[in-house]
């Protein structure tokens, strides 16, 4: 399982994360990224973190609850 943490103070609204992992991350009304699911086994979240120019997305591997 992966746990996603987004630092919204860093987010610029670039949006490459939602292209990479549309099921796990979305953009809110202000255009900033937020998590849809806090934990997922969707490996696309790793691509989402890599795609973020601001380094605002942290993905940690965690034990399944």
């Amino acid at each position: 399982m992966f746990k996603i943490v987004i630092d919204r103070s860093l987010c610029s609204g670039f949006g490459a994360c939602i292209d990479a992992a549309p099921l796990a991350i979305e953009l809110d009304d202000e255009g900033l990224a937020r998590v849809v699911v806090r934990e997922t086994d969707d490996e696309a979240v790793l691509d989402a973190a890599s795609a973020c120019p601001m380094g605002a997305i942290e993905v940690r591997e965690v034990e399944a609850a």
Partner: protein
Amino acid sequence: MKPRRVVVVGAGLAGARVAETLRARGFDGDVVLLGAEPVAPYERPALSKEYLAGTRRASQLALRPPGFWPSRAIELRLGEPVVGVDYGRRVVVTCRGAELAWDALVLATGARARRLPIDAPGAHSLRTLADAAALRRELAPGRRLLLIGGGFVGAEVASTASALGLEVAVLEAGPAPLARQLGDQVGTVLAARYREHGIELHTNASVRSIERGPTSKGVVAVLGDGRRVPADTALVAVGVEPERTLLPPCPVQAVYACGDVAGAGHWTSAAHDAVAVAHRILGLEPPPAPPPYVWSDQLGLRLQLVGAPGDAADVELEGSEGSFAARYRRSDGRLVAALLANRPDEVAGLRRELAFAA
């Protein structure tokens, strides 16, 4: 033929991305990542922004957590610049005299801060974490900082230093800050913001010489028209130039260059270049290139530039001083780039629009 051993020279964004993409795409040979700086791959853009402001520490800039590299069997050799490449024997030679063999070589040596064509005694430059740490030690409230260059880095450092309570002066060679990159209209808006932030801005300023200040403390920049601009500390921020010394004189099989050394110039270009090189090494089709993207936090504005405004014939500026957009169009009306200031909600759509246009 897939290689068995890939050596990546340069552990910035591009080098790091090549190494991790090789692994992500299933490469199981050796991957060696050599960095000249004694620090694991980090987010360089933050140096002139959050790091200098003191809101992010060095340890918070890492591109990956420390355990990432060993967990992917990527051998990181840090603080070990490569001094030469023997293309005949297929080895790189490091500053410690080590010879590392490769059957695919990636040169991701990046860029170095451009220097002035004149002597600049005591002036700082800003490219590496060590540069940023040295500059940060000088940023004490009440001191006076001189920035030579009003580009992205110059403007970011100027606003950070001003917010930290320094008196700041900026020398810009052009008619307005970022006028060459973003056009005169945007430059004029930015110039007004410098003045509102109490930053002394000298435009059309050519620097004739840089001298030590009285009693050898501080510096004085002497301008082409004879004006003398004194400061306690100076930073030269006049752009970068590719670090090309290791590149072969002509293309060599199984040797790749990516990132700033290959002229990427933007975070997204460097990241994409690196992913594309990793795919080529493995004989895979690379993903499509994203439009260029630059961001900058300066003068209370988050600027985001998507696309390449250099191709534009026309600029439309709309909005207010604290939240505006500039759209750059070719003579046939096609959008080639846009600059957004404090408009995060428009970026994602714009990025898609320009990706489809490309």
